[in-house]
């Protein structure tokens, strides 16, 4: 019997994998992808709840999340391109201009 909890745990796991990716990788593109993973985890959550409550609101918000993800990807990748054009790197450890 598959319950709500299964989905919640799954999404938690997926989310944490995303966090791990963000924490450990230095390739900023992969970091962005990890973020996408986290967003997906959130979506799974939302939809699981909407299924449980028999209410489409969760799905609506999943749509919004997807919108945000698209925007985030576009802008983030744009930034990455611009940065790469200037500094020839996508290593996040070399992107530390904002320091004292």
């Amino acid at each position: 019997m598959i319950t709500q909890t299964h989905f919640l745990v799954l999404s938690a796991a997926l989310f944490m994998l995303g966090v791990v990716g963000v924490m450990t990788r230095r390739n900023i593109i992969i970091i962005l992808m990890s973020m996408e993973l986290m967003l997906n985890a959130v979506n799974i959550n939302l939809i699981a709840f909407s299924r449980q409550l028999g209410d489409v609101t969760g799905q609506v918000f999943a749509v919004f999340v997807i919108c945000v993800a698209a925007a985030e990807a576009a802008v983030g990748l744009g930034i990455i391109l611009a940065f790469y054009r200037n500094k020839e790197t996508i290593n996040i450890d070399e992107m530390n201009l904002m320091r004292w």
Binding site: Q4, L10, V19, M23, M33, V63, V68
Partner: protein, 166 residues
């Protein structure tokens, strides 16, 4: 029964692909794994009786966003491996540990059923699209419009950022 089987299969696939995504050496590979992961998630949506979301997931994520990643990966043809230089002050491992710890806690919460395990009572299969559409265009009209504006702004911003100024 069948649902359980499907769920476990896809859950395994999702997590497996996610692991591959964050561990793959070549960026292109991890992009591919990401696509696979998203497709599996879409399948999971179908299981959750949200076909519309599933299709949207495939269309927007797999068909759009990840393609964007692929493009960037190709445009960024690196002279040297990207993860060569590592900053000593970065506490990556600590981050890993913390993440695992948080997951452990969450898993504990789930496992001990402190959030009460409840089956799915609500049913919203047949008219899914109509429901979502109605919700989007009536109750959530303003957020919807805001989202569209957000996308527009993001588009313009991306163009401005990625355009090489001559």
């Amino acid at each position: 029964m069948a649902e359980a089987v499907v769920f476990y299969i896809f859950a395994a696939l999702i997590l497996g692909f996610a692991v591959l995504v964050i561990t793959a050496k070549s960026t292109v590979h991890s992009v591919l794994f990401l696509v696979a992961d998203f497709l599996c998630v879409a399948a999971l949506y179908v299981v959750l009786q949200a076909p519309f979301l599933a299709v949207i997931q495939v269309m927007v994520y797999a068909g759009g966003i990840v393609v964007l990643y692929l493009f960037v990966v190709m445009l960024v043809n690196l002279k040297r491996p990207p993860e060569l230089h590592a900053d000593p002050r970065r506490l990556g491992r600590l981050g890993l540990v913390m993440a695992l710890a948080v997951f452990a806690e969450l898993a504990a919460i789930g496992a001990y059923g402190w959030l009460k395990p409840s089956g799915f009572d609500g049913s919203l299969d047949s008219k899914n699209i109509e429901q979502v559409g109605r919700a989007l265009y009536t109750d959530y009209l303003v957020p919807f419009e805001v989202a569209s504006v957000l996308l527009l702004v993001a588009m313009i911003g991306a163009i401005v950022l990625a355009k090489r100024e001559q």
